[in-house]
Amino acid sequence: MATTAEVWVLSSSPEHNPVRTPAPPAYDPEKLFGLSPIDTSITPIQSPSELFELPTHSRYFEVGKQADEPRRKEVNKTPNPSTNDESVVLAIDGEAVADKPKRRGRPKKALAKAPEELEPIVASKKKTASKKSTTGVPKKRTETTTKRTTPANRTISGRVSKAGSSQPKEAKVQDNCPSTPRASSAPKETKEALDWERDGLQLEQAMTRRLDWTPTQHKAKSIIGLDDKPGSNDSGSGFGNLLSEYGFNRTATPASDYVTSEDGGPTKRRRIELVDPGIYPAVKQSAVDVNGKDNTGYGSQQSTLAAQKKPKKRVNKFTTLTARVTAKYMSESAETSDNVDEEIEAAEESLTTKSRSTKPKKKGQRSLKSREPEFVVLSPEEAAKTLEDQELIFGTCSQLEREDSPTTIRELQAAICQSELSMVSEDNSRPYQKLGKGTSSAVSRFTGSGNLWSVASRDVDGSLMQVEVVDLVDSPDRSGSVAICEQPSKDKADTAIECNDSRGSSIQRDAPEPEAALAVSEESTPLPTQNTQTANKTAENVASQVSASRTRMPNYRGFTDARLSKQVAKYGFKPIRGRKKMIELLQKCWESQHGTSSEPNDETIQQNSSADSVTEPASSQSKPSNKTTSKSTARKTNANTKGKPQSRTATKPTAEDATVVDTSKKSTSLPSSTSLGATTRPIAGQTPRKTPTYSFADVEEIEDSEDEAILSPSRLQGQLFQHTSAIPKPSLSTSHVPSTPTRLTSKNISTQTTATSTAAETPLPLPNLSNQITAAIRAQSQSTTAASTHKRSTPTWHEKILMYDPIPLEDFTTWLNTEGLSLINEDREVGAGSVRRWCESKGICCCYRPRKKEN
């Protein structure tokens, strides 16, 4: 006993566990834990093919490990090598003892198993120390003789503790014959299944096994062959929940449906999964193994397990496009795998076959290895079937997801809106500028609010695309009428833009000379008539929201503390105590963000709110009110199917809208106001042209020309007019503004326009910059000499150059950019590098300022 006990310890040690036991247990934890979530999220991971493949690897490993085990055992045994037989007997006893303490119910089984096993074990001992050769024979015997009993052993082996316990006997007995343990392991697995039912999943052990990751994989591989069927049998009960919780509700549920309809499906899935062999191979295999064993003995377990497997697979399949696409090309391999599967199945049906399957782990599996990788569940026909059944959705993953869960969409939209809040605010300020001819607003816009978003939202041509973006965000929501109210932020943005557009449009039509107040009033008055009840509600909501969010600056005081804190958090500040401080901070932030003075804001806000109210109802109206529901629906569907109306060119949806709007205009007897509202969207592009100002938004919208084409011809003409007149200016402004910030800042709009216009004329034949530098230098000397203010002590650059002074490039460049080039009306800037080249071309000694501050 003492010897046995020693042996037992060694065998039970963690090293052994991974080798033998892990296969079944490892499968369990992963399936239960990781697989369901992982599979759902990652999707295609579990491929049946992988399962097969891995087993082959595992087999190799197992063999090797087995070999190792016996060695260890031998080492341990060496002290008492003579008493092999005794050791066997002892081992059995010891096993029972060992099992008892560790596992409650087992001892009986173990005992029962023990005697049976003894025979084969002994035989194995006799045979030889060489495991491989002997292993195959003893296993068969043991299994065939004691199939039912063996399961108990298996369960033991499967668990870490048990494996240890079971192994000890084996170790003692088996030193020479590693095969015996295997045989025992097979029965153990069956036992394990029972144990699971009883004891639950025993996750703790699973976790421990997890730590021994690689070893577990190997074992799983050994078991693999049997798995295929169990997988098909499985109907995922627990998995469904996991999936749903995970957020893939739709995918999960349909998957389950499919499962019922397509039993063959699982195989197909496996194919697909083949594509991603690397991810979760071990787990699947292990799971398969368990199932396969279970098949013969325990149908109930199989069913449950199979259920689990199935849902996973399906989800995986359908989730990723790559998997689907690649699956087609995997068909060949799948066929081959199918054949293999059939063979395996047949083997499983007969007990003898079982023995084979068990054997393969140790010996026979090697031969199987070559086949196993090819195992594929589904026949090609079935695969094709399943493919047909499935609805294929092409698009980016993001699109798919978006459609799946409305909540995610909303969140996404909200995030977008938030990020673009600044843009919106700019837009808000814009109308005011146009209408009221705000003095410094335009400038502030460039300088103050020129943030990354404004830059990022720019087209290749430098035009803004925000309008379309907004549409994108809205489209899903609008399809659902309720959405508007729910999503304030989004609406905000939308309304803001729309209001601008609408206003601009209204201005264009109604008041050729933009007078803001008039235009607004005109628009606002018709409102009530237009609005349906819902429209009114929405309008009100919008208005309130707008007033709150937009007018942050003035309204901060009216905020509740919570709201204030929220706003503060929005700006990225830590929560601040004190209402006043918060308000101040928010105001500052707002100012810095929008750069416009506070007064205009109020006006703009009001205007905006009114405009919003107008536009919003209009937009909401347009859809419901449109007779052509089919069109509207079509539009919705478009939006949905496309996922997102492409941000830049919202061409199609907008175009449809435009048409719809037109129809609605005529058909619906609503007053002109409705037409206004309805047209707001398509018109959006027009506003900028109308007011040929400096804001980028104008530029952006010009791009939308497509929309205009749809509009009524009469309008078109007018717009075209405006286009022609306005187009050059915005482009100029965009190009030149950044380079000439200094000028713009100090001057009002009129000067701006002049400046831009002058700049506009120059660009075509741009004089060489180097020549410009020369000219600037000469200009400086002339101006200074004329002023006669300069003294010898402060020579001009020209004089410095003439006197061979080394020209510090930094200073010179700075001067050029700040003063020099402006002397000759050159708006471009020069870099130190180009200045240096200029100097060198002139033979002017130039240098970068020495870093050392030495004289």
Partner: protein, 424 residues
């Protein structure tokens, strides 16, 4: 503007040159350096005084000889740039080969920050083979090439040969090269060179390095003349634009010719010169005919005097004072400064008056004095300190060239200055 003025407080140095040093024992050992005081520097290299470059410290190569001087640099920065370019022709942006590549990358560079440029150069140079040209001939070729480059060709440089064999090599190369040096680059044959061009060599031959005048003595008369000329309270008019000149306000140039009293605005004269030279695109003329005496006058000379007059007030005053006190006075104070000691042998002025001037300059003028002291203060660990000082400044330049040079005889290591402006 004010920062820039910091640099402008110094007048154009009286003398600054790049030199090619050759070992008299191992004739393949070469060294390129720059100095405002070649004689003193040569003494350092030869170990007669402290401060010689480490590369030149080996006894088996001493004594060294200066076989070639490139002089006429209008500022220390200019000299250093030229020196660096000459030392590292493959990395210099002035090298045509590099220039070619430079243009390609110029687009990015032009808009980039100033500091990136040298990096680009070095990066380019890294993969180009280095050390292939180490011979005297190679250096002469490089010199020829740089003197033709757009940047340096506009500078009022002169090349002075002290050794006939070097000059012969030079001429042979000049014959082979397709392009000619710019006209204004004067070749001065000195030392044992065949004096075939005697007639045009007016005052330029000094025979020995020691005799090179490294102070303002050569423009002393010029300074004195201009001083008195501009001191005249009577109506001063620009000879170009005929406008009134206010000496205290305007930058006025005076004809260097002793008997010519032409004064003119700086800008006026420069534009006139450029017009005459038909180079309206340029900003700095090389030379021109005085509007009054119609003699060819060097712009650099006038600028030297102008800068000295406008910035080196102390020097000018001392010069004037010395001049007033008469030329018979002994230059007792010559060696007040320790700096002067090292170069004492070099400063033996041909005339006592010049010596007096020199002494005064050394003693009084801050700027010139500084230059001297820079060199004089060098001690044993000069090289170390130099390394420390220079490395950061030259960070942009490939440091590897030091390593590369170690194995070769040609020592291209230090310059006379501890502060090196980047920009090749």
């Amino acid at each position: 503007m004010e920062d820039a003025e910091v640099d402008h407080t110094k007048p154009i140095p009286a003398f600054y040159c790049c030199y090619l040093l050759r070992s008299t024992k191992q004739r393949t050992s070469l060294y390129i350096g720059s100095t405002p005081h070649p004689a003193r520097r040569l003494a350092q290299h030869n170990g007669d005084s402290k401060g010689g470059a480490r590369k030149t410290a080996k006894d088996d190569k001493r004594p060294w000889e200066m076989v070639l001087l490139v002089e006429g640099f209008t500022s220390r920065v200019a000299a250093l740039q030229f020196e660096w370019a000459w030392q590292n022709p493959k990395m210099s942006s002035q090298h045509p080969a590099n220039r070619h590549q430079l243009e390609l990358g110029a687009g990015d560079e032009a808009q980039g920050t100033s500091g990136t440029h040298p990096n680009a150069d070095t990066g380019k140079a890294k993969h180009r083979g280095r050390g292939s040209r180490r011979s005297l001939k190679a250096h002469l070729e490089d010199l020829h090439l740089f003197l033709r480059s757009t940047y340096f060709s506009k500078w009022p440089l002169k090349v002075r040969f002290f050794n006939a064999d070097v000059y012969q090599l030079w001429t042979s190369w000049c014959d082979r090269v397709d392009s000619l040096l710019p006209d204004h680059v004067r070749i001065i044959l000195d030392g044992d060179c065949p004096n075939d061009r005697l007639p045009c060599q007016d005052d330029l031959r000094v025979q020995r390095v020691d005799h090179i005048k490294v102070d303002y003595s050569h423009i002393h008369d010029y300074v004195e003349k201009s001083h008195f000329l501009l001191d005249d309270p009577t109506d001063l008019r620009c000879n170009v634009c005929r406008a009134t000149i206010v000496p205290s306000e305007d930058l006025v140039v005076v004809c260097p010719k002793a008997n010519c009293y032409c004064i003119s605005h700086l800008l006026c004269l420069s534009s006139r010169f450029l017009d005459c030279a038909r180079e309206p695109d340029q900003l700095v003329p090389i030379d021109g005919n005085c509007p009054r005496c119609d003699q060819v006058i060097q712009w650099s000379t006038m600028m030297q005097e102008l800068s000295l007059r406008s910035r080196g007030c102390n020097e000018v005053q001392t010069i004037l004072r010395k001049a007033k006190k008469g030329r018979g006075r002994r230059p007792g104070a010559i060696h007040e400064t320790s700096a002067a000691d090292t170069g004492s042998n070099a400063v033996e002025a041909p005339s006592s008056r010049a010596a007096g001037v020199e002494s005064s300059t050394v003693g009084v003028s801050d700027n010139f004095d500084m230059d001297c002291r820079d060199d004089a203060s060098l001690d044993e660990n000069w090289t170390e300190s130099l390394d420390i000082d220079i490395e950061p400044d030259i960070l942009d330049r490939p440091r590897a060239h030091n390593a590369g040079t170690t194995r070769v005889e040609i020592v291209i290591d230090d310059s006379d200055c501890d502060e090196v402006e980047e920009l090749g």
